[in-house]
């Protein structure tokens, strides 16, 4: 009825979701059931609050409704068991299983524990993403399904499989041990990064941006940073997201076509996001040993601060890609380093650097190799060969905007 109230309720619910789930999951050792109960409480609130107003103690309200749902669920389960097995009815249906609300809904932030749980390495990335968005992001299954362009039933199954995997992995609802934390935090950051990329690039369909997912990833990463303010990689990831997101409105044209970095209208870049991202990454880098998100963020910052492609600090970018390459053994990093090297030392050096990739089974035959080779050949003035590589790349890409872009590039170069 009232749009302002509707959106205020939405924001509040999504902030409260992980806090309420944390309390319920702590008190009840069945994470899967607790998660379902909290989801039901959120749905109830989203229909009731906009009409009746936000209750004085919204967190307590959600907690009470979730616990009631859990109790109902446990009761009907017990009743079923009693019917099925009258001898071994372990509990009486009247026995309260869930502690009644005693007014002291603990004000402990369980968001991090939840994230460690939802991004458990036992889960496949699509499952971890879906569960994280629901349990930590407070989104409904229908909203997540819409964001990923799949039917709700498919998304519901992904979530329930995710919870099943957690159950069978025997992971308790608790903070991982200190020696496990670094690896598990890496998994969390990776899932957040995947959510961001999904929103930023979209793996299916013709449209480029699904900004809600990017915004959600940024919101969750901000929450992690508030809990771990001293972690360089958390700050690095947040910076990388902000510095990438800053270019969003310049990245696509009026017809949804892809505009590459060197052709973007830089006046459209979001200056406040760039300022925030740059401060974050400088702060993270000043803490010593830089991780891969910090390095990627530092590269993004150099692009964002440059007035044009020509005036970009390519020597610095080349050095950063060199550091990244030593850290990650990722052929796409090598490819980017080749581009940076071409900008510093000329296209011949870039082409030479990327030659090793033809024998790398992870990328040989990938359209990006042809696309970059075409670009470097164009720089070198070898138009005929550049056109040929643009066409091969266009044939190989699975992306519609990318294909259109590559064919346009090829068409712009006169043959020979």
């Amino acid at each position: 009825m009232n749009q302002l109230l509707d959106s205020a309720v939405g924001h509040l619910l999504r902030d409260l979701a992980p806090q309420v789930l944390g309390v319920v999951a702590r008190r009840h050792d069945d994470f899967a059931a607790a998660e379902d109960a909290v989801q039901e409480a959120l749905i109830a609130a989203s229909t009731q609050w906009p009409r009746a107003g936000i209750p004085d103690n919204p967190k307590g309200w959600l907690y009470r409704v979730a616990v009631r749902r859990l109790t109902d669920q446990v009761r009907s389960e017990a009743a079923r068991r009693q019917r099925e097995d009258s001898v071994a009815a372990e509990r009486s249906a009247d026995e309260p299983f869930v502690p009644a609300l005693d007014g002291d809904v603990v004000d402990q932030d369980d968001t991090l524990v939840l994230l460690f749980m939802c991004c458990h390495p036992a889960l496949t990335p699509p499952s971890a993403i879906a569960l994280t968005l629901r349990a930590v992001g407070g989104l409904t299954t229908a909203e997540i399904a819409r964001a990923f362009l799949v039917p709700e039933a498919t998304m519901a199954q992904r979530i329930s499989r995710a919870k099943q995997s957690i159950k069978s992995s025997g992971t308790p609802f608790a903070m991982p041990s200190p020696d496990e934390r670094a690896e598990r935090l890496g998994a969390v950051l990776h899932v957040l990064y995947l959510i961001f990329s999904e929103g930023y690039t979209s793996t299916s369909g013709a449209s480029l941006n699904r900004p809600d997912l990017s915004n959600e990833a940024i919101r969750l990463t901000r929450a992690v940073r508030a809990l771990l303010p001293k972690d360089g990689e958390v700050g690095g990831l947040l910076a990388l997201m902000l510095l990438t997101d800053a270019r969003r409105s310049a990245r696509t044209g009026a017809g949804g076509e892809l505009i590459p970095l060197d052709e973007q209208d830089r006046s459209l870049w979001d200056k406040s996001l760039i300022a925030e991202g740059t401060t974050l990454v400088s702060d993270a880098l000043s803490r010593g040993s830089a991780g891969s998100y910090q390095l990627q963020a530092a590269i993004a910052a150099l692009h964002d601060e440059a007035p044009s492609t020509e005036d970009t600090d390519w020597p610095q970018i080349l050095a950063l890609y060199g550091l990244l390459e030593r850290m990650s053994d990722n052929p796409m990093v090598t490819l980017n380093r080749a581009i940076a090297a071409a900008m510093v030392h000329g296209p011949a050096v870039g082409l030479e650097l990327m030659a090793v990739l033809d024998d790398d089974p992870r990328v040989s035959g990938h359209y990006r190799l042809d696309a970059v080779r075409a670009h470097l050949l164009e720089m070198a003035g070898e138009r005929e060969r550049a056109v040929a590589h643009y066409r091969v790349a266009a044939e190989r890409t699975t992306s519609i905007p990318e294909r259109d872009y590559l064919l346009t590039k090829a068409a712009r170069l006169p043959d020979g």
């Binding site: 039933a153 199954q157 690039t201 299916s204 369909g205 590459p260 973007q264 992306s399």
Partner: protein
């Protein structure tokens, strides 16, 4: 990655042959398809699936004068096979799409014998990975 699995049925006389099957064969075929679709949904892989009306009902449309559609009824003499229906699945590797297609291809026909329907598997194009 998303794939479209297109099931091509023999064209026949404009009807799908399935319309002339014995009721129990037809039922077994439909039950097989329902079970396959439920399995794909349960695996979190189903994006969409649709069956199409027989080729006898198909129309060919071309732009006519002044942008009005010019509709013709066929015939489609050159086509031996017709698209009978499709699935769009989201899987983590192409091999899984082939596996699903293989399963669908073996849907039971008359007498419960696997039909071995040809299924064309094509990757659905997407927006580009993060570059700019």
């Amino acid at each position: 990655m998303r794939f479209m699995l297109m099931m091509h049925a023999p064209r026949g006389t404009g009807d799908y042959q399935i319309n002339n099957w014995a009721p129990e064969d037809f039922k077994a075929h439909i039950a097989f398809m329902h079970a396959l679709n439920a399995e794909l949904t349960k695996a979190g892989e189903m994006v969409d699936c649709q069956g199409l009306t027989p080729p006898g009902q198909a129309r060919i449309v071309r732009a006519g004068k002044g942008g009005a559609p010019a509709v013709t009824d066929g015939p489609f003499a050159e086509a031996k096979e017709f698209l009978a229906g499709y699935w769009i699945v989201e899987v983590d590797r192409p091999e899984r799409a082939y596996e699903i297609a293989g399963k669908a291809s073996a849907a039971p026909g008359p007498g419960g014998k696997p039909l071995i329907i040809p299924i064309e598997v094509r990757q659905v194009m997407s927006a580009p990975p993060d570059q700019a």
